[in-house]
Amino acid sequence: MRRTLLAWLVPAAILVVWIVAGAAHWFAPDQLAPPSRVLAELGSLWQRGLLQQDILASTVRVFAGFAIALALAVVLGTLVGLNRAVERAIDPTLQAIRAVPSLAWVPLLLLWLGIGESAKITLIAIGAFFPVYVNLVAGVHGVDRKLVEVARVLGLHPLAVATRVVLPAAFPSLLVGARIGLTQAWLFLVAAELLASTRGLGFLLTEGQQISRPDEILVAILLLALAGKLCESGMLAIERRTTAWTDGLR
């Protein structure tokens, strides 16, 4: 209970400053909307059914991209982590791709895949892939060699060693990567939706800017913060439930 209260302390302080800033007219009305305006806009968008569409569109994109990223990262991360030859062959290239800023992909993806869903989902997948991949490779590298030896003494096939020993042992690292990757997916979502979309929270941001509606922009920002936080908490809960076997400090 106290911990929950503590976590709300900073948001409450921000809210107070926000209300004061609105009441004292520190900013022009077309720059900053007071919380009451933002709330009203949120209600209005919801009543018109627009907000639901935006939230749904964005959520579907995020989870589609994240699912693709997760599947690819599990396969590639395991192979690279286990096999030095594979690591030498593909890891440098992947690290170079990782260094490309997210927005740099946008023109190319639009050119290749058009302005449809696939370009957006691909961009999100690129963003979500690397945290999962990097963490899983590190996790596989860190798997206790002695446990692998047990599996070998038991005569397990290399594939069974990977699925029954290496992946379970690296699972906590995979989950850490997945948690960061999902957050990253929301970041890349905005990059994707800012440029070409007619729906979604990123679109709400662009629209708000174009028609000078700070309340609409703030609705989108608040919802993005909420979505990111919800995903983070959900992943943390999964982590706690599935990695109770680790013998760490927490």
């Binding site: 446990l147 047990v150 003494v153 029954r164 020993v165 379970p168 042992a169 076997w245 013998d247």
Partner: protein, 238 residues
């Protein structure tokens, strides 16, 4: 046929020759303890028998399945005791044996416990149970009790002796503990020299085996001198 037949075994790690022309035959149901100073190649001998990356030359013939128990329990930390044991089962028969093996090793009450919550002795019992579920005809025991305190080690020595007898396995026990060798073994082999070969072999009379009250003064003294002498020679050559 003997359970294990090793002839002219040689193992080298690069330039370093560890085992040099070691020959050893172990009969079915026999427990052979291997003693020797640290680094003399005791574990290497077991790894060579198990086919674990030591690239030996010479011949090693083993009749039947090999089970390996390491110095550390090496349990899979994400599986509880029962699932760790079940991990090794390959067939429905072996899965069905999990229950009996848990009972044999005294682990029924700890079946749902995760490795992180086990004591050292319980963890090593679980490791033994995981090995036994396959009913190996040969057990390779690599200092399995070395990390335990004195009392627990003696208790587990007795349990281990009973278990090996119950399953009727042949066993090679690597240890640095003279008392453990004297209690558990039918025959004791001392490795010495550099590279190592068998420097002493003692067969214990049957009435002195698995008997805490047996008078083993002569054997103890012989082993002590063999091991100390070897240590002295090593220090001189170093």
């Amino acid at each position: 046929m003997s359970a294990i037949c090793i002839d002219d075994l040689r193992v080298a790690f690069g330039e370093l020759r560890v085992l040099d022309g070691l020959s050893l035959t172990v009969e079915r149901g026999e427990i052979v303890a291997v003693l020797g100073p640290s680094g003399c190649g005791k574990s290497t001998l077991l790894r060579a028998i198990a086919g674990l990356d030591v690239h030996p030359t010479g011949t090693i013939a083993v009749a039947g399945d090999v089970g390996y128990v390491f110095q550390e329990p090496r349990l899979f930390p994400w599986l509880n005791v029962e699932k760790n044991v079940r991990f090794a089962a390959r067939s429905p028969e072996e899965v069905a044996r999990v229950e009996a093996v848990l009972e044999l090793t005294g682990l029924q009450k700890a079946r749902a416990t995760l490795p992180k919550a086990l004591s050292g002795g319980m963890a090593q019992r679980a490791a033994l149970a995981r090995t036994l579920v396959r009913k190996p005809s040969v057990l390779l025991l690599d200092e399995p009790l070395a990390a335990l305190d004195a009392l627990r080690r003696m208790q587990l020595q007795e349990a281990l002796g009973e278990i090996i007898a119950t399953v009727g396995a042949t066993a090679i026990l690597v240890t640095h503990d003279i008392e453990e060798a004297l209690y558990l073994a039918d025959r004791i082999v001392v490795l010495g020299g550099s590279p190592s070969r068998i420097s002493l072999e003692i067969t214990l009379p049957s009435h002195k085996r698995r008997n805490r009250d047996a008078n083993l003064t002569a054997e103890r003294s012989t082993l002590f001198h063999a091991l100390s002498g070897d240590e002295l020679r090593q220090e001189e050559s170093a």
